[in-house]
Assembly symmetry: C2
Homo-oligomer: 190 residues x 2
DNA sequence: TGGGTTGATGTCAGTTGCTGTCATCACTCT
DNA sequence: AGAGTGATGACAGCAACTGACATCAACCCA
C-alpha cells in the first residue's frame, strides 16, 4: 500500500476546501483540485460522486453518530429529548473541528448549488432520524415531526454558533435553541 | 412577432415534461427537448437557467400567489391562520392543473437531482413567506417558524392529495393537515 | 522463489450541460 | 425607406462526468 502517498481522499478534500475558499467554488476546476492533491481528475471522481460532494462527505459520519445516539438512548426518554440529546452529542464533536467547520460553511453559504446540496443532506438526516425514532416505537407522524423539529433546532443553534464571538459551547446553544422553541410554540395558541 | 411559432417557452416546457416522463430525466438531452419543441438547444438555455429549471419555473408564480395572499390578509388574523389560508388558496389553483402537477411530481420523485432542486424551491418559498409575515409585524423567529410550519403542512397535504383516490379537495386536505399538526403538537409536553 | 491476484491510480476518448459571441431577419417605429 | 429591436440560429469552446483499459507495487500462496 505504499506505492503512492497515503490518504488520497483526505488530500483531495483538503485541496478542494482550500481552493474553494481561495477562488470560490465555481472558479475552481476539478483538474486543479486533483493537481494540488497530486492526483488525477479521474481519481477525484472515484472518491466523490461530484464536485460538490467533497464538502458533504462528512455528513455521513454525522448522520451515523446521531442515529446511534438515538438508538442507544434510554427507553423511557421522550422522543424530543432523545433527539435533542443526540444533537448535543453531535455538537460536541463538531466543536472539536470548529475551524474547518467554519471554513466549510463560508464556502457553502457563498454558493447556491452548495446550499442546495446542504438542504438535501439535512433532509436525508431528518429521514434517518425519523427512522431511528420509529425503531424505538414512535409513531410515524410524530417521528417525522420530532426529527424535523430537531433539525430546525440544530440549524438555529448552528447559526448562533457560527456568529458567536464569545465561543459559547455549541451543545449549550442546542439546549438554548430548544428552550426558545418551546417558548415560541407554547406561546402560540392559534 | 409572427416570424416563429409562438410560445417558445411553453413548447419547451411541454416537450421537456413529456420526454422526462417517457425516458427519464437523465436519459433525455437538452438537444432532444429543443428538437421536439422545434427550437435550438441555445434557445432552451435562454429560457431556462438549467435543465432542471424547466420543471420549477412555475414555482415563482406559486410563491407570488402565496406572498400576496399573506400580504392582503386582514390585519387582525393570526399569523398561522394567514399562512394556512394562503396555502388553501394556492391549493385551489393547483387543483385546476391536477394532471400536469401529478406528472411533474412523478418525474421529480424519480430523480435525486430534481428532489434536490425541489427542496431548495421550498426553502426559498419559506423564506419569502417569512418575509411577508415580517412585513405584517410578526417578529423574526415567529415568522420563520410559522412559515416553515406552513410548508410542513403543505407537504403533508400535497402527499395526501397525490395519493388520494377519491379526489378529496386539496384545500380541504390543507385544512385537515393543519388540524393534525395541532393535534400532534398539543399532545406533546416534553 | 516466483507467478498470480488485487487495488489504487493513470490514460484517453467521448458525451453532455452550459456559455460567449456574432449573424440573421421579421417586425416596428419614425 | 431606413434604422432599430428582439427572438432565434450557428458555432466554437470549456468543464463536469463516464467508460474502458493499462499499469504496477504490494500481497498471497504454492
Amino acid at each position: 500500500m505504499g506505492r503512492w502517498e497515503p490518504d488520497g481522499r483526505g488530500r483531495l478534500e483538503r485541496a478542494a476546501l482550500a481552493l474553494y475558499g481561495e477562488r470560490g467554488f465555481e472558479n475552481t476546476t476539478v483538474a486543479e483540485i486533483a493537481a494540488r492533491a497530486g492526483l488525477t481528475e479521474r481519481t477525484f471522481f472515484r472518491y466523490f460522486a461530484d464536485k460538490r460532494e467533497v464538502l458533504f462527505w462528512g455528513a455521513g459520519a454525522l448522520r451515523e453518530l446521531l442515529v446511534s445516539a438515538v438508538a442507544s438512548a434510554p427507553e423511557s426518554a421522550a422522543p424530543m429529548d432523545v433527539v435533542v440529546a443526540a444533537f448535543e452529542t453531535a455538537a460536541a464533536v463538531l466543536q472539536e473541528r470548529r475551524e474547518s467547520a467554519l471554513q466549510r460553511q463560508v464556502v457553502i453559504s457563498a454558493n447556491a448549488e452548495l446550499r442546495e446540496r446542504e438542504l438535501i443532506k439535512l433532509a436525508l438526516l431528518g429521514a434517518a432520524l425519523a427512522d431511528a425514532l420509529r425503531r424505538r416505537g414512535v409513531p410515524d407522524t410524530a417521528a417525522s415531526l420530532t426529527a424535523d423539529t430537531g433539525i430546525a433546532i440544530f440549524r438555529a443553534a448552528f447559526e448562533a454558533w457560527v456568529h458567536e464571538t464569545e465561543q459559547r459551547a455549541f451543545p449549550q446553544l442546542i439546549r438554548d435553541s430548544f428552550d426558545e422553541l418551546k417558548a415560541v410554540t407554547s406561546g402560540a395558541s392559534s
